[in-house]
Every structure is written in structure tokens, then in C-alpha cells.
Symmetry: C2
Subunit: 198 residues, 2 copies
């Protein structure tokens, strides 16, 4: 193993680099086996043989660590609540545009489609996506809305966005796959707006 | 093999019963390998070693044969275009209610979730669901609407319905899974109505 180790990047101190990699590896295994809700920073730290404080130091929260482990260069758990908390006028359109413009980038689309296929295709990994959606997206959006039925409103938005991604990028249904981002934003934006505020 | 054959049901003539089973088996294999669009009644008949006319005689169209092969006791390809062609007032609500009331039945839900998991989870079987949706649902709804952007309107409906089924029955997101059918119909019905007619 050690003889074939690739040259280290960015001159990071060796112990640190090893710990980081071990933590990421432990996170991938732990999320995969326990789902999002069943994994904790503590259980991942323990699996990696390091202290929880070191995990927090390198990666921040559980959501940060998940984003790092999945390798998606996008943080909907930070961006989306920000959009919902912004000016109310066109939250729906801005949110749909944010998602589509992300998925139009090949690297994000490839990883996103892979994540959807994996999470939906297997009973074992479904809790991974479901837990992340519930805690880090729906939960945060609902908190931002702060009304009695906020959780259901946020989940309805998730249902339309999930169906959009599924039909356009996974099933690639012809009229969805060929429609322009602007056209879809104009048609789906008002749906999201209504689910959130009306 | 023959010694262990189960007693035949309904006293159907033996040759006929064998042919029916062989056709269903061939349909399952052919749809699985070629997808919905890549399979024809002719290719399924050839695989089963029977004449195309016999397949039509026993099962009708390719859509009929697909429904039989998948084993879902529900014919959205017949029911949904019927709903869309009905009185315009509340097509959206009636359509959402139709889908939810079907999936509230355990037998349909179990097979439907299995079909979604399989079709989305594997690159190989995705064309199966995509082709059926495109030809037998979106295509027929679009024909009923008869406007220039009918295909996209029908596909948007498919996106919301797919996302609804995904979040409520596959991911089981808490607020979606626990909401009543009436509540979801009231919130999602107007979305479907708007995609179709506004």
C-alpha cells in the first residue's frame, strides 16, 4: 500500500491528510450502511478511529460531511433555504432555475443522476436520500416558512422538484428533456410558489 | 418438470394455456432486454415461438401485453386519457385522486414501488418505464389535449405525479406519507389542472 501511495497534494501535513481520507471513507461506509438519520458525526469518527472534534474541525456539520462524502459540488441544504428566505415575489421561479442550472452542468448532473438511481433503486440506500431531504432541505425550508403546514408545503415542493429531475434527467422523457430551462422555469415556478405561499 | 406441473386452472385447453404462459414469459424477457419502445408484438411472438396473430388474440395491443407482463391490476393508459377527456372543471383533482386511490391499495402500491425502483435503479430498465410513459400515457394525453405544446403539458403532469409517488411511497417523506388523500388532492390537483389547461 504505502509504496504505491500517490504524491500528496497541496503539501498538507501527512497525518492530517490521512485522517481526512479515513474520515471520508468512514463517512461513505457509515452513510451507506446506516442511512443519513442513522449516522452521526460521533459514529463516523469512531469508525475512522479519530475524535469527533477532529471531524467537526475538518468538515463542520453532518450535512457538510455528507456533501463531501457524496462528492456533489453543490450545497442545496445551504442555497435552497437561502432562496426561500429571500424576496417573496419569485421564490418559485428562482428555486426551479437554481436546480435546473445546477443539473445542466455535466458534472453535477452525472453525480445527481447516480445518487437518484442508487437511492431509489435499493431499499437499503433509500433512507440515505430520504433522511438528507427531510433533515437538511425540507426541515430547513419549513423552519424558514414558519407556518403550521410548513413541512407539507416544503415536501410538496420536493415532490415537484424530484419529479422534474426524474423525468428530465433520468427517464429523459422527450418533451421534458428538450424543453429550455426558461420554459420549464416559467411553467413549474408558479407551482413551487403556490405550494410555498398560497 | 412435467411431473411437478401444478393442476391447470379454469379447464383451459392445454395448448392454449401453455402458449399464454410462453407469451407472457417472452414478453417479460423482451421488455426487460429491449425496453418498451424496442419491443414489438412481433418480436415477442417470435421469442415465444408463436404467431403474432395469437398474441393479439390473447392479449390485444402491446400496452395490454405490457400491463399483463408487469402484473399491475390497473390500466392508467386507458383510465388517465379518459379522465383528461372528461368534464374539464376538475380534471386535475380527479387525476391525482385516481393515482392516489390506486396506490393506497397494498397490491398496487407494492408492484408500483417495485416497478419504480427497478426502472429508475438500473440504466438497462429505465427505457422500459420511459417508453411506456411516453407512448401510452403522455402521448395519449397529448392527443386528447390537441394543442401545440400538449406533449410538454402532459410531461409536466407526469413529472408532478411521478414526484408525488416517489416522495410518498418510495422515499416515504414524513409529511407526504402521513398527509390524507383529500389534502394532497386539494393541493396538487390545481397544479395538474394548470399544467394541462392554463
Amino acid at each position: 500500500m504505502t509504496e504505491q501511495r500517490a504524491p500528496r497534494k497541496r503539501g498538507r501535513p501527512r497525518g492530517g491528510s490521512d485522517s481526512r481520507e479515513r474520515i471520508i471513507g468512514a463517512a461513505v461506509d457509515e452513510f451507506g450502511e446506516q442511512g443519513y438519520d442513522g449516522s452521526t458525526v460521533r459514529s463516523i469518527a469512531s469508525r475512522a478511529g479519530v475524535d469527533s472534534a477532529l471531524v467537526h474541525h475538518y468538515f463542520g456539520t453532518k450535512a457538510d460531511l455528507f456533501a463531501e462524502a457524496v462528492g456533489i459540488p453543490l450545497r442545496p441544504d445551504i442555497d435552497v433555504p437561502g432562496i426561500v428566505a429571500g424576496p417573496r415575489g419569485e421564490v418559485g421561479e428562482r428555486l426551479v432555475r437554481y436546480v435546473l442550472e445546477a443539473f445542466e452542468q455535466p458534472d453535477i448532473r452525472r453525480r445527481g443522476v447516480m445518487l437518484m438511481r442508487t437511492a431509489i433503486g435499493s431499499r437499503l440506500t433509500t433512507p440515505l436520500l430520504a433522511g438528507f431531504l427531510a433533515r437538511e432541505l425540507i426541515g430547513k425550508i419549513a423552519k424558514t416558512l414558519g407556518v403550521a403546514d410548513a413541512e407539507l408545503r416544503a415536501a410538496l415542493v420536493a415532490s415537484q422538484i424530484a419529479g422534474l429531475l426524474l423525468t428530465r434527467y433520468v427517464l429523459k422523457l422527450a418533451p421534458m428533456a428538450s424543453a429550455s430551462v426558461d420554459d420549464i422555469v416559467a411553467r413549474v415556478g408558479p407551482t413551487v410558489q403556490r405550494y410555498l405561499f398560497e
